[in-house]
Symmetry: C2
Subunit: 268 residues, 2 copies
């Protein structure tokens, strides 16, 4: 309990309400049921009710949108127990990394075209892929390909850090912005002092600005430890420009903090 | 302005806070900036801040869901300016009402199958429609068919009352629940004393429970006027069972109101 339980006498000075002017009133929050002091007062009752209505409306909108998402999802040929959904597919994708042993992933040209401008160009322009009905995807495992295609149908994927990185690369290559943003959000939640440097380098390489910014913040908050790491030495060798950017950001933060400190000391 | 502007003196009785115990404090709502009396107090500051954070979270969730909906939408062959989307279609739908003059509406079997169990049965079981690649839809105009197919691709439709009724019939026939619910919501917003009786009969005929309940409520609130209408006479002739149900609901409301009135007079 952070609040002091505090009993208040509230006296109205208003002349016309003489009969009720002195009352022994302790205020109790409608929401958490705790008593509070006037200095901790939040809203009036009317605004509380309005806020509750707004929340209900937002929740209804969320329910509607979730129903829409469920409706719009297409079942892919990869759905478990959906033997019939393989029908009407008109193209297969093959993960070339896994050699000939991995099975082709069937899909629909119309869907690929709708989700990716790269597939659109490939399939609508009578290129080799369109004629043969086979799209070979290089440098990708069968598992990643399956997950990628499944996402195109459903906007859902089960991620771990490796899969998020692999899918981010795929989404960059095939310009599937929604998937890229999905992977970026996931990677940001997984950032920690240990992986921040490598994540930063990865994000830089694949234009993942959101991850890059978050990783940079993490790095400059742990500069002393980061600069002792093996990956730091490697990056100094391979990507010195990246290390320079980190130091520039670090310096900029130092200057800002110092300026903030000065201004605080002035006001004190 | 519903609130009286009212200045309050708030005095704390707590012994340990003697120095601040008497203060001239008028409470001002953090949200609407109006002053208010203790009896109109809503929440404490902490709960106000929490509610604000919840609202922000809900809004972020809505943004995410909207982005997902945009991603999952498929462009249909009916999208304006999307000449290429006609490619890869493997079936056409024809509105038989408009005779041979109305153009076929191209679509994708995989999508129709995913959206409607009726299309699924039709197309996956090697029926005539699957072999010919042509689905004839009876008793429907070309415009309704276009709108229906467009909805299957995008979960969007531009409705007026007639279109909502036509699509509700289609959604019932092809078991597209999401569209049915969409039409029902629209029709409920369009209910008024003038159309309530016909809407009720229509909803009854097409198992639109949500509309039916709303229309019934509208009817029994305007019984005197409704029973004078021409449609009332028609329904008495054609669907007397429906009229009986209306009277039963009306009676039930009367009894409940009377019971409520008695209980109120007892407490007074």
């Amino acid at each position: 309990m952070r609040r002091t339980h505090h009993r208040c006498v509230i006296q109205s000075e208003s002349s016309e309400s003489g009969s009720e002017s002195v009352s022994d009133t302790s205020m109790r929050c409608i929401s958490c049921r705790e008593e509070y002091l006037p200095r901790d007062a939040g809203t009036c009752k009317e605004c509380y009710v309005e806020a509750g209505e707004t929340e209900e409306e937002l929740k209804r909108e969320i329910e509607d949108l979730k129903a829409k998402v469920t409706f719009l999802r297409l079942s892919s040929s990869l759905d478990h127990g959906n033997s019939s959904s393989r029908s009407f597919t008109d193209v297969v994708l093959i993960a070339s990394e896994d050699s000939a042993s991995s099975p082709p992933v069937p899909a629909h040209k119309a869907l690929l075209v709708s989700r990716s401008p790269v597939f659109r160009a490939m399939l609508e322009n009578e290129m080799e892929e369109s004629r043969s009905g086979t799209i070979k995807i290089s440098d990708i495992s069968y598992d990643t390909l399956r997950t990628f295609v499944y996402y195109l149908y459903t906007a859902e994927a089960c991620l771990d850090e490796q899969m998020a990185c692999d899918l981010l690369v795929m989404s960059e290559k095939y310009q599937v912005k929604h998937l890229k943003s999905y992977c970026e959000k996931f990677l940001v939640t997984k950032l920690n002092p240990d992986n921040s440097l490598m994540t930063y380098a990865f994000a830089h390489q694949h234009n993942a600005k959101h991850v890059r910014d978050a990783a940079l913040l993490q790095i400059i908050e742990n500069m002393e430890n980061v600069t002792k790491r093996e990956e730091y030495m490697e990056l100094v060798e391979k990507e010195p420009r990246l290390i320079v950017e980190i130091y520039e950001a670090y310096l900029s933060k130092q200057v800002n903090t110092a300026a903030g400190g000065t201004s605080t000391s002035k006001t004190c």
